[in-house]
Every structure is written in structure tokens, then in C-alpha cells.
């Protein structure tokens, strides 16, 4: 894997504790983010901004949010010392076990926060976009719990690839609308959800699935996910008496990553690593490494890195992980990359699948393929840290989701399910061969 830093122009940081925050118009670092949206949605986005800021300043809302996450979703998640993995790399690897949350991923935090806010705003219907179906399932879950009508837009290509998640959403009471337009994948599902929202905004909230989109979504989704990092930081100090040397997460739109990173932004000694979906390899053009290989542009309401052609048309992304398969990225990540505070590195499909097998066989944890990107990248960082600082060097990796949903992909990739495949089969070798 290439460990080179993403090739971004370094920009001067403004001073003060707000240097990583958006300004009141939604711009990070004065440039990234903002609100490039139709006038018809501005009133709703303004209303949402006020409601979110009021809610976050209201102790009773925050208490309700914490209570529902604790009692219903199993949060705080554990910070788990992966001992065998640590031995392998010569440094302490701590996994933030978001895979054990209700619905199997960090995404429950975001949807419960946004659904609670929807109730507070007096709206009765939610819409959501989904790629693989994880945010759709989480949204359908929250809608069931809060008794809200729910419509989920999903690319037609994805509804065929992820029929099980379509069924889960339907069982939970949501309406799933296959989107045939454009490339019929996640970005088109977002387009269609926005089209719905323009026509339904008076009674409908858009539960945006990642820390991207127009202001206030990047900051609001970050706020609902930041418990990941706040908890991990406190757990690490409590359990080991030190801050980690590094934190790591996968980055598609970037909600789990910004959720982890936020608590550590002011800890200058903590390295921050995002791992982007490198697909078949960035050099092949078939990837979704938006920060590493994209260029600044405007997509879905924010200025951020975008995979685009020379005319500014969005280019189709590719990743084995549907949850990372997005040609844009949250604007705060663009700012963290441009400012040099975080580094973003691509991890290929093959490297991620190898890490999926490794974690399954050393720790008995089947990670989501999204999270396997973080594992793959973090292990390289851990090896370096171990060499530099010894075995007490510590890295926190966000295990953002569990891999049950990815078994179809794993079966195909590794040739699982064949009775001839004995327990001694070397899956890493199988993955290597598959990559060649």
C-alpha cells in the first residue's frame, strides 16, 4: 500500500480552538463545505440549522440522545485491546467496537440523533438515501422506534446487489424506492432524495447518511457521531493512562471517521489517519479515493474533493465496499487533509479483503469491508509506530461495522462455502491470488 500523504496543497490554519470548525455559513477553513443548494431548500436548511444548534445547547435533548443510545443502541461501545493482532504488529491495537451497536454499525448514532431532532421539529416523515443499505436500515430502524413514516432511496443497481437489506428495510416498515437515473447508485439516490425533499420539505426531514452535503449536515452528523471519539479518548486514558499515538478510520463520506477524529483534533501529538477505498488501485482509475485522487469541486451542496472529469462531471467511483463507494467526501475531511492535520491514504479492495480475513482469524471478529479498510491501513501505521516507540505504542482503530452484510462478497472473493475449502486454507493467499 502506498503510505504517501495525499497530495494536497497545504493551507495556513486560522488560530484558536475553532480552527477545525465550520464558520456560521458552513465553511471549514474558509473554503470547504458551504451550501450550494437550490433556494427552495434554503429555508429548510436554515430551520434545521437553528433546530440543531438549539438542541445541542439543550441539556434535555442531549440527555434524551444519550439515553436512547445507551438503552436502545448499546452505546458507549467498548474499546477492545486486540491482543493477538497487537502481537503481530508490535504495537497496541485498540478497536472501537462500533460493530456491536444495534444494527451493527456506528450509523445508529447519526440516525437516532437526526430522528430525535425530527420529532423535536414536529415533522412526521423522514427520507434517506442508502448505498449498501446500512444507512437505510438504520433510518428504517429509527423511524420504527420514533413512529415516523420512512422512505429510502436506493440505487437500482444496489437494490439488486443488496436484496437482503431491502427486505430488512421493508420488514421495518420503510418504503424502498429504487433509483434508475444516472449511474443508479448512491450518488443518484442522494439526487433523488433531494428531489423528494424539495417537494415535501414542509413535513419531511432528510436523514442524511454521512457527514457531507450542504451546511449544516457535515457539522450536525459530526456532532451525532462524535461520541465515538469522545468515548474512545476517555476509555484510552482510563484503561491505559495515555492518549493514543494515532487514530484510524475508513473514509467514504466520512461519518465514522469524523466521529472518531473530532475528539483528537486538538491533541497535536495524536496522528490522524483516514483510509480511502482504493478499489482496484488508484492507478487503474477504478477507485473511490476522493481526497487522494480527486480535485476540489462542488457535489451535493458542498465544496469538497470530488472525483470528476475535466468538465466537472462526476465520475463513477468503484469500491468493493458499497458503503465507501461515493465520489465525494465530507468537507471537513477535505479541510483536515488540506490543512495537513490528517492524512488520507488509499487501501485497495485486495488489501481490505486480506484484513477482513486476518481480523476474522486472529480475533474472531468479522468486520464490515468498510472497517477492514481501516484495519488494513492501521496495521501499517501500527508497525511503524511499534518500531519507533516500542510495543506500548497505541493506535485506536474504529471498527465501524460488522461484516454479516458482506458475506456474499466474501463468499465470492474467497470462494467460501465450498466444502473442499478446509480450515487450513490460507485466505490471505487466496486474496492475493484473487488480486492478481
Amino acid at each position: 500500500m502506498s503510505q504517501t500523504q495525499s497530495q494536497t496543497q497545504s493551507q495556513a490554519l486560522p488560530g484558536g480552538p475553532m480552527r477545525y470548525e465550520a464558520d456560521e455559513r458552513g465553511y471549514f477553513g474558509g473554503t470547504w463545505g458551504g451550501r450550494f443548494m437550490p433556494e427552495a431548500l434554503v429555508a429548510a436548511l436554515d430551520e434545521l440549522t437553528v433546530a440543531w444548534q438549539d438542541a445541542m445547547a439543550d441539556a434535555s435533548f442531549v440527555a434524551d440522545f444519550e439515553r436512547v443510545l445507551r438503552d436502545y443502541a448499546g452505546v458507549p461501545s467498548r474499546l477492545y485491546h486486540a491482543e493477538r493482532l497487537s502481537e503481530k504488529v508490535g504495537a497496541r491495537v485498540l478497536l472501537k467496537r462500533e460493530d456491536l451497536n444495534h444494527t451493527g454499525a456506528h450509523k445508529i448514532r447519526n440516525v437516532m440523533g437526526q430522528a430525535l431532532l425530527t420529532k423535536r421539529m414536529g415533522k412526521s416523515r423522514v427520507i434517506a438515501e442508502t448505498g449498501a443499505g446500512q444507512h437505510g436500515v438504520a433510518s428504517a430502524t429509527a423511524a420504527a422506534w420514533f413512529d415516523l413514516d420512512c422512505t429510502v432511496y436506493m440505487g437500482a443497481v444496489d437494490t439488486r446487489r443488496q436484496a437482503l437489506n431491502v427486505a430488512r428495510m421493508q420488514l421495518l416498515g420503510a418504503k424502498v424506492v429504487p433509483v434508475e437515473s444516472g449511474s443508479a447508485t448512491l450518488k443518484d439516490a442522494i439526487n433523488e432524495a433531494l428531489r423528494d425533499w424539495v417537494a415535501s420539505v414542509d413535513h419531511t426531514a432528510y436523514l442524511f447518511g454521512t457527514a457531507a452535503g450542504p451546511h449544516p449536515f457535515p457539522s450536525m452528523v459530526r456532532d451525532f457521531c462524535r461520541g465515538i471519539g469522545d468515548e474512545a479518548r476517555a476509555q484510552c486514558l482510563d484503561q491505559y493512562g495515555v492518549l493514543p499515538d494515532a487514530v484510524a478510520a475508513c473514509v467514504g463520506g466520512g461519518s465514522n471517521a469524523i466521529g472518531l477524529f473530532t475528539a483528537f483534533l486538538e491533541d497535536d501529538g495524536v496522528e490522524i489517519h483516514g483510509f480511502e477505498p482504493g478499489g482496484d488501485g488508484v492507478e487503474t482509475g477504478r477507485h473511490a479515493a476522493t481526497i487522494h485522487a480527486g480535485e476540489a469541486g462542488v457535489l451535493h451542496g458542498a465544496r469538497t474533493y470530488v472525483l470528476q472529469d475535466e468538465d466537472g462531471q462526476t465520475v463513477e467511483s468503484h469500491s468493493i465496499s458499497a458503503g465507501l463507494d461515493y465520489p465525494g467526501v465530507g468537507p471537513q475531511h477535505s479541510w483536515l487533509a488540506a490543512s495537513g492535520r490528517a492524512s488520507y491514504t488509499p487501501v485497495t479492495d485486495a488489501e481490505a479483503m486480506e484484513a477482513m480475513a486476518l481480523l476474522s482469524r486472529t480475533e474472531g471478529i468479522i468486520p464490515a469491508i468498510e472497517s477492514a479498510h481501516a484495519i488494513a491501513g492501521a496495521l501499517e501505521v501500527a508497525k511503524r509506530l511499534g518500531q519507533e516507540k516500542g510495543p506500548d505504542a497505541t493506535i485506536i482503530v474504529n471498527l465501524s461495522g460488522r461484516g454479516d452484510k458482506d458475506m456474499g462478497t466474501a463468499i465470492e472473493w474467497f470462494g467460501l462455502g465450498d466444502a473442499d475449502l478446509g480450515p487450513d486454507a490460507d485466505l490471505e493467499q487466496v486474496a492475493d491470488e484473487a488480486a492478481q
Binding site: R25, G34, R35, F36, M37, P38, E39, A40, L41, V42, A43, A44, S181, G182, K187, D188, N191, L194, R195, V198, A199, V201, D202, G297, V298, L299, H300, G301, V306, Q308, E310, D311, G312, Q313, T314
Partner: protein, 266 residues
């Protein structure tokens, strides 16, 4: 360059509303789109909006999405759009570009404004930037003497309507239904009040986009607006005649004539 305001002045002198027609550049081909837009001018459009096809058109309904996708699939480029503008502007009617923002940013805002002005374009309609996030475009448009057409919606607050009117030049685009583009059976009762709010905010023509697809609807809108914008219905006329350009142009001509009669009746 011919500012769009000249189209409104001409219509007002004839005591009628202006008819503004939209088609995407490059649909069904670059040359075909030029012939189609020139047909619309000949048959009575007072101004033309040249659409810049974009991969993620969040404000467009299925009809315009379909046409834009066909244009992209056929390989239309941003530079082709400039050439379509040049060919249409030669007819003498104000010719604007309607575009989502990213292609402009990618082309280079200053370079875009310069090339558009050089081609005789009147200005730009920007469905996904509002004046408060459009300072780069506003500066470039002012530098090159181009129209800045921003949108207002039924959901716009009075404060935002005032801001939009203050920053617009040429006309204000009242998107008078809460929803995406597309022909509609009935006109919206939101349009009249929205037009009145724009008029109260300043002295600038206001044109209404509301899914008009025939002369009767155009007449209804023309009673209270300075201009009637028609997009999806024109696109539909071409979509309904795939591979038969003569029939498509004939349908465009007939539809334009009906609409042009409508704005004179209103």
C-alpha cells in the same frame, strides 16, 4: 451581448409577457440542439436558456434528466455549450446558460464569464447557487457585464427575496412550485403571491417556471408575470420524436407558436 432585459422591454412594449424557452445543449446532438433552439426563436421565443448537461441535476425531473443524460452520453462538452450559445445568440435574442455550479467552477469562473460574454451570451441562471454563496460568480458576471439570474421559491423568506432581487440582473426566476422541473397539469396557486413578493422587493422583471406545457397555461401565468419559462415541454417534444429530426422540429415549432399565442392572450 444582449441583456435579457431587452426581451422583457420588447414584450412590455407589446403589452404581453415574454416567452423563455429551455433546451439542453447537445440534445440530441450539438448541431441538432442549435437547430432546435433556432426553431424556437423563429416560432416566437423571446429568450433562450441553453442548458448545460450535468451528471447530478438535483432540481430536474425525469424529462430533463433524460435529455441531459442523452447529451452527456453523446459526449457534449462544456466548450460545446459556449458554441451553442454563440449560434443561438446570432439570431439576436437574449441567450442565457442555465447550469449547475460545478461545471462552471471546473471550467474556471473568470474564464467562463469571459468566454460566455465573448460568445454573445446574456448571462447565467444558477439553480444551485444562491447569492449568499455566489460571490465568485457575482464578481465575474459584473466584470463581464453579464446577467445574474437567481431563483426565488415559495419557501423563500421576504428577507431572502429582497436579497435575491438586489443581487439579480436581467430577471428573477420564480420557481413557483415546490418540486423539480417537469410539465404539470395545473398551475400553482403559489405563483401569484411569489411574483407579488418579488415585485414588492424591487424593480426587476420576474419570470415564472411552473411546468407550463401549453398556450392556455402560458396565458394564465402571463396574466401576473413578466415572463413565462418553459423547459420540460420543449424537451418532451423532441423526446417524443427520437431519430426523426424533422418531426421533432415541427413539434417544437407548433408548441412554441401555441405558447407564444398564450403569452399574448394573458
Amino acid at each position: 451581448m444582449t441583456s435579457t432585459s431587452t426581451a422583457f422591454e420588447k414584450a412590455r412594449a407589446e403589452d404581453r409577457a415574454a416567452l423563455i424557452g429551455y433546451l439542453p445543449a447537445g440534445f440530441p446532438s450539438v448541431e441538432g440542439s442549435i437547430r432546435a433552439m433556432r426553431t424556437m426563436v423563429e416560432a416566437g421565443c423571446d429568450a433562450i436558456e441553453v442548458g448545460l448537461p450535468y451528471s447530478d441535476p438535483v432540481m430536474d425531473g425525469p424529462t430533463i434528466q433524460d435529455a441531459a443524460q442523452q447529451a452527456l452520453d453523446a459526449g457534449v462538452r462544456t466548450r460545446d455549450v459556449i458554441e451553442v450559445v454563440r449560434a443561438v445568440a446570432e439570431t439576436g435574442v437574449p441567450t442565457l446558460v442555465m447550469t449547475y455550479w460545478n461545471p462552471v467552477e471546473r471550467y474556471g469562473v473568470e474564464r467562463w464569464a469571459s468566454d460566455l460574454a465573448e460568445a454573445g451570451g446574456a448571462g447565467l441562471i444558477t439553480p444551485d447557487i444562491t447569492p449568499d454563496h455566489g460571490s465568485a460568480w457575482i464578481a465575474a458576471a459584473d466584470e463581464h457585464d453579464l446577467d445574474k439570474v437567481f431563483l426565488v421559491a415559495p419557501s423563500s423568506t421576504d428577507e431572502r427575496v429582497a436579497m435575491t432581487v438586489a443581487e439579480s440582473r436581467g430577471f428573477v426566476y420564480a420557481a413557483a412550485v415546490m418540486g423539480v422541473t417537469g410539465a404539470r397539469e395545473a398551475t400553482s396557486d403559489l405563483a401569484g403571491p411569489l411574483v407579488r413578493r418579488v415585485r414588492a422587493a424591487g424593480d426587476i422583471p420576474v419570470a415564472v417556471g411552473i411546468g407550463v406545457s401549453n398556450g392556455d397555461q402560458a396565458a394564465e401565468v402571463a396574466r401576473f408575470a413578466d415572463g413565462v419559462i418553459v423547459g420540460s415541454a420543449f424537451v418532451r417534444a423532441l423526446l417524443d420524436h427520437p431519430g426523426d429530426e424533422a418531426a421533432g422540429l415541427e413539434a417544437l415549432r407548433a408548441l412554441t407558436a401555441d405558447l407564444a399565442e398564450g403569452v399574448r392572450r394573458g
